[in-house]
Symmetry: C2
Subunit: 186 residues, 2 copies
């Protein structure tokens, strides 16, 4: 039940159309909550039906016609409620770690290349986050909003740092391994 709240947050930051939201979910918000345009349109419909947002009445709504949405007081209240509510962390699911564990029983053949690829992807993401940090969070700003958003970005940076380090370490281990086929021979 987080997508509607992600959308409310985005719309409070700036009223947008479905497609604009989609683009913003590909950038900043999507770094920790991704969504496709189909999800977003569906959810916009529900949010409007529930009276949490409304379409800005600027243009007549026709298909293929841009339609912006803004958050109503009820929407802001719901977001505040959700933000403050206690929530249990969702269980993680990580395919790469699963594959490594599988490799312990069926062999590491073929895995190394993909580890290397993932390392590259995480390095790229880390570089992107660091650029954003330099651009949007120069030293000396200390508004509350800035500090909170910076904190979120730091989480992204630290997570990507973790992954690059862990993957490097994993690849180093791989280099020392006897290499190839199943470790539990038939």
């Amino acid at each position: 039940m987080s997508l509607p709240h992600a959308i409310l947050t985005a719309l409070l930051e700036k009223p947008s159309s479905g497609l604009e939201l989609t683009r913003r979910f590909d950038r900043s918000i999507g770094y920790f909550w991704s969504a496709t345009h189909q999800q977003i349109y569906r959810e916009l419909g529900k949010l409007e039906a529930d009276g949490l947002i409304r379409a800005l009445p600027s243009e007549q709504p026709a298909r293929g016609q841009k339609k912006s949405h803004e958050v109503l007081p009820a929407g802001r209240a719901e977001l505040a409620r959700w933000t403050a509510a206690s929530q249990d962390p969702k269980p993680h699911r990580d395919t790469l770690l699963l594959r490594l564990r599988a490799a312990a029983v069926v062999g590491t053949a073929g895995l190394e290349a993909d580890l290397r690829r993932h390392l590259q992807l995480h390095e790229r993401q880390l570089a992107e986050y660091q650029e954003i940090e330099q651009r949007d969070f120069p030293p000396g700003r200390d508004g509350t909003e800035d500090r909170l958003r910076h904190l979120v970005l730091r989480a992204g940076i630290d997570l990507e740092t973790f992954w690059t380090q862990w993957l490097s370490r994993a690849l180093a281990e791989f280099a020392e391994l006897p290499d190839g086929e199943p470790t539990t021979p038939a």
Copy 2:
């Protein structure tokens, strides 16, 4: 499409019944791939129908009767194929970071307590991982399987370390904040 492979891995490590699998998913495997017993039973059915596993013929299969499963050669082959195949990382979704971002627009009221709770949960998890490391990975073991499994555990430890550090930092920031209500006044 990872749950079946998680199950295959678990069954290769040790043939088990549905409930045994469920328990193992609550411990080790569940640390990076969680599943409920209903998911597991359903998937066992599919895997058996697909000829990747079979029920051990020990006891007559009746409802409420323990039924163990083992992996067939086709299952092992499928797991090896999947492990070696290139896969893109799934987008992350993290509710806590989303809530922090929401807090930047609707205010931080109520959030701090839950941050503190999450910190405790992560500290506990970290301690558990470290116990496992001491128990199962004493210095000086260097079989391939051990090294791979240790690597996976290290990922868990480092991730929990990241979270505890980040949450501590977040709480420290919160302590300095002007406190309470919306930062974008109406």
